[in-house]
Each structure stands twice: as C-alpha cells, then as structure tokens.
Symmetry: C2
Subunit: 557 residues, 2 copies
C-alpha cells in the first residue's frame, strides 16, 4: 500500500520530472530525454529466452501492441499537429526492436493468472528502457502482468505524422508500479443491458489506463441477465428478454478477455436488497416484490428484497452465490448489501413471522443470513466484498478480511477504517459517473439527479484516498473505482459517459494522488484522442482549440 509519508516524498520527486506528453497514468518514475526516434518499418517485439513457451495471452498482447503501433496514427495535440515535429523526426534514428524479458526466478504464468491473484498479491511493476540511438528497447518485469502494463506504456510513447510513427523523448527510463493494487471500474448491466461486445470494448479501454478490476454489478431488481448454472430460471424469467442474458459462456468469455488484458473480474450479486428480479422465478424468496408505492419500499422501482429471516431463502441465496462464484477465478466476490429497506421487511408477513418464531431481531437475522452467504463464497475461495452499510448501518460479524466499498460519501471511509476493514473507494460524491443527468423517475418535471452535480474528471482527480485516515489506517486502502449506474445509460452512451473521465481514478490510484490538473489535462486529451483512434467514443473535454494549446484555456490563463 501507500503511506502518507511516502506520498509526500513521491509527489516532490515527480515534480522534478518533465512528464511525457501522452502517458496516462503517469509512470511513478520517469526519466526522459528530447531525442526523436522513428519506429522502423521492420520494428518487432521479441519475447526473450527468460520466457520459454510464452503464454498465449502474452503473445496476443504483443500482437495487439503491434496493431496499436501501426494503427493508432495519433497526431500530437499541438498547433500544427505532427507537422511541427518533422524537423525532429527527419533523419532521426530508427527503433527496430523491443525485447520483453522476465526477471530471474520469475514464474512464467499467463497474464490472466497473474491478474486474477488477490489484488495485493499481484506484481504489476515493469521497467521500460528506450535508448536514444535506436538500439533495442527493453521491457522487463517480474510477471507477465507487469509486461502487459509496460507494453501499454510503450504504445503511448508514439505519435504519427505523414506515414511516420515517432517518439520525441528518448532516451526513456521508466520504473513503474502502481500506488494502489485495486484500480477499477464498475458497470451496472441490470438497469439496462450491455451486449458482450460493449463490455469487452470497455475492458479494452480500461486496460489502456492500467485499470485492473472490473466490478460487474451484473444483476439488480430491474433484471437478472445472468445465467447461473443450477439457477437458470432466474435469467429465463428475470432477464429483459432472451437476448439480454449473459450465458455462463458469455461470462467466461468476458473474464478471459479481461484476464488477457490484465484485468480481474469481480462479480457482484447484490443481496439482500436490489433483488426484485429474483421474484420472477422464485417469488417465495422475495419480500414486498413489486409493492407500491415503490418509494416506500425501495430507493428506486421496483421494490423487492430477499427474505433474510427465511432459512429456505438463506439456503437458496447461499447456493446461488456459490454457483455464481464458481464462474469466476477472481479472489473477490461482492455480495452487495446496500440500501436495505426496513419498511419492506416490516410489511412482509413471512419475515415478521419468521423473526417472531425464532425470537430474533432483524439485525440478528441479517447477521445469520450474511454469515451463511459469506461462508458459501468463502468456501469457494472468495473474499467477500460489501457496500458500506454492511459495516456502518448494522452490527454484523464479518470476516476480518472483508473488503468494503465506501459509496455514500467519501466521508465514510474513516468510519470503515476505524472498524479495521479494507476499503475500496467508490464514493458517489467523487466517482459516480451517472450523477448530474437529471432525475429519471417519471412524473417529476423538476427532478434533478440525487447525486448532483456531475462529477467532472477534475474533481475525481482531486480525490485523496487517505483523507481523514490515520497513517496506521492508510494500508487499509486497497484503491478505488469509478462507477456507472445505468438508469440513464446503455450501449449508446457507454463510451461517452465513461471516457475519458474514468481515467481520473486510474491515475489517482496508479500514480498516486495530488497530481496537478493543469499538468494532467493535456495528457488526458492525448489518451482520450488515442482511445478514439482505437474505436472508443471518448468525448471532448474542451474545444479542440484548447486541446491543441495546453494551459491556454485554464481559468486564470
């Protein structure tokens, strides 16, 4: 993890470097020169003898990298674009090779295997060296995961003009590793459905900013688009339609696509709230399903929560979570736990009868329920991940290694840390990408977004993961994620609502916090324009006039 003392020192060191124009996230140690190099037409990437029988996904990463180098064709964002670099790159030395090498004693695993270790056990570090004379560049790491991050960085060194691919800042020496082990993005695929191809496109973009956790909020009260072996009726009856279902094969496909790009997929089946869709197949397990007025029984329509006091429901849920957990190689699995609605349970006769029969309080029953569901996934080797209410709103006995999403407010991190739990920062007041688009509930003409205002990249970028934490608590912070709840989203605006904004947290949690937004903006423009060259519909953050003139559109310029 990352101590406060270390942070101050590190930030000071960073300021001493002139950052490369187009690197995102900024490497934690970067030395660069000002010599141009062109990419030779015969340029190739070699995997050396330290990696015998290179894993297939590493070979594919090399092939993808070659594709980006050839196809990015990104004009540098300056007035005149690449034409101003002609003098620099004409007659420059030519780079012919990049050699990938693993450190002595490193075990050769696939990228996916490395990416699917526990976050804190992953070795994501790499060293990239590009000499200024055109002699071979070297990328070394102690894992194939480190190598894939290094390949990503390598592609960001290059611009394109007039049939020439070139870099401007050789010699380069980058020694890089993330400040935090969890750098994620959450997508809700239940309010509206996203075909596999959209999820994969999102994963591609995540990998380009070195995000390593895809938090897949795969089901919710509105739909259950997830085919879980043994529980297939849930999707058959709870999905919007047969086409809007992730089959077990689809989930495996997404996990494989992610893994090959250094990303771990954490599934979430939110419980006990947010489960109305389960009532389509198993009405006996759901309290106040579709009851109205919905606003009394849920934070949004439709109402419906698992009957936590029912043994049958507890066993059903534990079984479902275990079956779902088996589909994912990740060490993490989220059981949710947000927005439990008490009037719903108060109005549910079976729940009240069960509580009375066993002489339990609601909290006691929730504790029993949670222990059963957590035990089920822990038996599958998973670490439970929960929303903050599970530790802040109820007095439950949770495993010490439970990880907590802080979402209601960044202010709540301190209270979670005080209980000794590890934290993933997912605060609505910084990282919710859906905020600010107005109210979506019907018949509410003046309705605004509950989490107004819009969370700009600049504001997300100003997030301090250690705010209000003691030095002793700092190691509890695993990292953070930006999140998209999809009441007002779909494949149509996925790219534009997420990118390049979600790059903000990617840099905060890789490079570390405290970055200067004026310094960051030109690089964010570059990574955004590069993503666009690769097929992501990233939005403009500013008029192009500003994008071409770093600093000139700053407030005080």
């Amino acid at each position: 993890m990352f101590s406060k003392a270390g942070l101050v020192l590190f930030t000071t060191l960073l300021a001493a470097f002139a950052p490369a124009d187009a690197l995102w996230p900024l490497p934690r140690s970067l030395q660069q020169g000002s010599t141009a190099l062109t990419l030779s037409c015969s340029f190739n990437i070699t995997i050396d003898g330290t990696i015998p029988n290179a894993p297939a996904d590493l070979q594919q990463a090399v092939t993808r990298t070659m594709g980006y180098l050839q196809n990015d064709k990104l004009g540098r964002l300056v007035v005149g674009r690449g034409s101003v670099d002609v003098d620099a790159y004409t007659n420059a030395s030519s780079l012919s090779t990049l050699t990938l090498t693993l450190g002595q004693g490193a075990v050769v695993n696939s990228i996916a295997t490395e990416a699917q270790k526990a976050p804190e056990a992953r070795d994501e570090a790499y060293t990239l060296t590009v000499p200024s004379d055109g002699s071979g560049a070297t990328l070394s790491a102690n894992s194939t995961l480190g190598l894939t991050h290094g390949l990503t960085t390598f592609t960001q060194l290059f611009f394109y003009h007039n049939a020439t691919t070139y870099m401007l800042n050789a010699p380069i020496q980058i020694d890089d590793s993330p400040a935090y082990p969890y750098r994620g993005f959450m997508l809700d695929t239940a309010r509206n459905f996203f075909p596999v191809q959209d999820v994969k496109r999102m994963l591609d973009a995540m990998s380009w900013v070195k995000q390593n956790m895809f938090h897949w909020h795969i089901v919710d009260s509105q739909s259950f688009p997830f085919e879980v072996p043994g529980y297939t009726e849930l999707a058959q009856k709870g999905a919007y339609d047969p086409e809007s279902v992730y089959s077990a094969q689809d989930v495996a496909d997404v996990i494989s696509h992610a893994g090959a790009r250094g990303i771990d997929v954490m599934l979430e089946i939110d419980t006990p709230g947010h489960t109305a869709a389960i009532a389509q197949a198993f009405p006996e397990h759901i309290a106040c399903a579709y009851m109205t007025p919905w606003a009394t029984f849920a934070n949004e329509p439709p109402a419906g929560q698992l009957r936590i006091a029912s043994n049958a429901t507890m066993n059903f849920t534990a079984g479902l979570l275990a079956a779902a957990a088996e589909l994912s190689p990740s060490t993490l699995f989220s059981t949710g736990g947000d927005e439990i609605n008490m009037p719903c349970y108060a109005a549910d006769e079976p729940t009240q009868a069960a509580l009375n029969a066993t002489n339990q309080t609601f909290e006691q029953a929730l504790n029993t329920f949670t222990q059963a569901t957590h035990s089920a996934i822990m038996a599958k080797g998973k670490t439970p991940v929960v929303w903050e209410e599970m530790v802040l709103s109820f007095n439950l006995t949770l495993s010490n290694d439970t990880i907590v999403f802080v979402w209601i407010s960044s202010e709540d991190a301190a209270a979670v840390a005080q209980q000794g739990f590890r934290i993933v920062h997912a605060p609505s007041n910084y990282f919710y990408l859906d905020c600010g688009a107005g109210g979506w509930v019907g018949a509410n003409p003046s309705g605004n977004s509950w989490c107004d205002p819009f969370k700009t990249w600049q504001f997300a970028y100003s997030f301090d993961p250690l705010a209000n934490l003691t030095d002793a608590q700092a190691p509890l912070v695993l990292g953070g994620e930006q999140l998209l709840w999809t009441e007002q989203s779909g494949p149509q605006n996925l790219d534009s609502i997420v990118w390049p904004r979600a790059g903000a947290s990617a840099e905060v949690f890789w490079t570390g916090p405290g970055g200067n937004i004026s310094e960051a903006l030109p690089r964010l423009h570059e990574v955004s324009y590069r993503m666009r060259q690769r097929g992501i519909n990233t939005i403009n953050l500013q008029p192009k006039w500003c994008a071409l003139r770093p600093g000139v559109c700053d407030l005080t310029a």
Copy 2:
C-alpha cells in the same frame, strides 16, 4: 401562431383522446379506434394525379418511408413486447396502399421549396386517414411539406413482431398542423467540428419529430470551418485543419439534405463577438485577438471581436455576411450579437481612436455597424435574426421584422416582446443541452457548468412559450429550439446528448405546451427506440423495466 385562449381549449380537447402509443409529436387532432391492421407484403405508397410530375424529393420521401416501414422492426414497449399483440394482429385485415394527394389548387413544389419559405408562410398541415377494414389509407395536404410530415406520422403507427408489421389503432383520423411555425435545433460546429455525415444524421432525427429549422452556428472564436466564396482564407487559416471545413458544396449538400426532409437551414455568423478565428486571416479586423487574461476580454477563450468602429471592418463584415447569405435559400440569417465584451473594446486602441475621431459612443458605432451588416443580408432577401442582447443591452435601430433569440433566461421574453420583436425561444434555463456536464475550463477542479443543472426532457417539456406575455404579444412567438454548444461535445456524443431530449421542444412547439409528462414519457420512449432502430444512438431515459411499464416508475406510483 397560437393564442392563449386557443391553448386552453385545445388542451382540454386533447385530454379527451386516448393518444396513440408511439406518435411524437402528438397530432393536434387524433381520432383512433382499436382495430389491428397488418402491413401487406405488397404494401405500396401511391402519389395520385393531383401531383403530376411529383418532385424528386417527394418521391425520395416515399422511398424512405417504405424503407422505414420495412426496417424499423420496432417491438412495442410493453412487457412481452410484440408477443402480446399476436392475438390482435393474427387474422387482422391487411393494409395495401397509402395514397398521397394534394388539395385542389395546391401548387406542386418540391418539399425543399416549401420548407424554405418564411416559417409563418409554410403550410405544414396534413390529414391522414386509415380505415379499419384494410381499404386504402389516404394522406392529404395542401403542400408537399405537409405530405412529408404525414409520411413521418404514418411510419410511427407501426410496430413489428415475428415478421409482421402491424398497427393496433385503426380506424385513424388525424388532422394535424403545428402550433408554432419555428421548431428548431441549434448545433455549434466551431468549438468542435462535426463531419457532414453527423450533421445529416442529426437532420434525419430532427425530421422524425417534425422539427423544421436547423440553426447552424457554423463558426465562432475557436474555429472558422466555413468556406465562404470570396473569403476562403477564413477557413484556410481559421479552421482546425483542412478536413474540418464545410466547403460551399458541403453546405449546399446539408441544405439539400435538410430541405428534402422539410427542414430549413438558417446559417449564423455570430458578430461582432465570437470572432477571434477571423484574426487568423484578417488580424486587422479583430480587437483584442487572443489577449490574456482571456476572462477579462471574453466569456470563454479565446478573446477576439470585430472592430465595429472601423469602416474597413464594417465593410468586410457586411461583405462576408452577404456572401454567406447567398449560400442559403432560407429567408432567415443570423448575425448573432451575443456576449459583446466591453473591456475588450476599451482596451483596443484602434477602436478607441476611431470612436474619438468620429465623436461616436460605442453604442452609436454598434448601431452603424449593425445597420450595415443587416442591410447586407436584407439585400440578399434575408430577415435578420439576433441574440437577445441586440435588443435588450443596446439601443439599436433594427428592422421591425428582426427575430430575436431569447437565450439568457426565459424571463427575458417579455422584455423582447415589449419592444415588439418576434421571438424564438432558446432559453438556457430550459433548452441548453450542454448544461450540467461540469466546467470545461482548465485548472478549475470544482468548476461546475455555468448553466447547471442539466436540462431534463421533462423540464424542457414543461416550457410555456407564452409565459409572462400578454395575449396581444402571443403572436410574436415564432417557436423555439433546443441548442447544443459543443465545448464538451463532438460526433462521439452528439446523438446521446441530444436525443431523445430534443424531442421535448419538438412537441411543445408542434402540439402545443401543457402536455402531461406521464402521458408523454411512454411515447418518448417509443420514438427514442424507433430512432435507435434507424441508427441514432438515443440514450435510455429510464431502466428498460420502466420503459416497458408506463407509469410504474412515476414518482408517486
């Protein structure tokens, strides 16, 4: 126009109808039954003998309509989608023909010719009759423009399920015409550039909700992407790059595409502010070009305004506007006039010298300048259109028929009306589509959108064009438009930021205000999903669960 007394009566009548599920905007008179009809495989659209030598654009409209009927394949938005309609459409009568006819004495003009008349001179009315027994449907109008609106309505009657295209509500009798003659959308193509294909896609979508004015804010301080004959250096030097220019041919292409769809294109060259880009080619005409701090000299970077007190600049501007006006057949041309910055002129020595030499006040000089530029376009047959400051901030002598965009606040309409000018409602507090996305100016981490909050469709839909106006002033309201300023937009998010939101004003100004948002929402979902079938990336307004269940996600449901 539309009187207040008429509005009350009309709203009352509307409530008596059960509106067709998927019509947008809602016709002003609609009678419908509940008989299903299928579209025959041999269905065709006939242009009858009242339209000899049918204009090419009408024939193309018929061909497009056939394409939509065949390809929309829109499943009705109910639980179960079209499967719930199988009983209704099985064994239903089959519709084989729609006949287009023009009223006695109607002159046969192309759609474009009709669309390019002065807004208040256009005849957009049509009558559509679909009998319930499968006998021929009839579409009649007194202009080809009316016919094209009727064709659009006709396509919205049909749903698709299991290889069957069907409607549910025969017999239909629609007598329709717009409440207001100006129903527009404004796009800024200067902050960021939009290729012609994106502009055309936007025009297509506009036509599907019967919008009839494309207000093309084609140039601004950031770039000048407009090749004006005789002034081609402006684009050569002022565009972002040679690819980001609308050639005169491109502009003609856009105008032709729009005209064929019933849309008039009003060009705007904003003067005297918002003109820094002109300095690239003609620095002698621009005061405080690129001066810093920009915030002193302009509302956004970069600063730069035409030297209104210079005769040379006045003549240059008049010539430019006249040349631009010649490119458009519209009766309207906007000379802009917003956000004139006084410190800029105060700091500009040539301007101060000219004012002193002629012993004029700034306002006198602006009056002279404006009369010259307006005379230039009036000589080309255009009616001048200006932003509200030109009548509210300065005491200028303007032609009585000048049309005024009310943009700063909807509250300002009354003051404009008091001066007797005609009004196009373009209020930032209702209709600015860019609001709410956070601040875009650099180095401003907590910066929010200046016109927060986001303008939801519901709020836009609640707009009252006659608020604070007297009955006598009501006829001054020509209509209104939703607007997209593109500091944070580009082709990447054009569809998603505009649609289906811009449908809100389309209905307010066609059907008339006062519509009920609960009644409107299901229809807006339908038109949005239909647009998507036609290639527009409209966003989801709600979870699909809500879209399938009208009313169930209302605030009080």
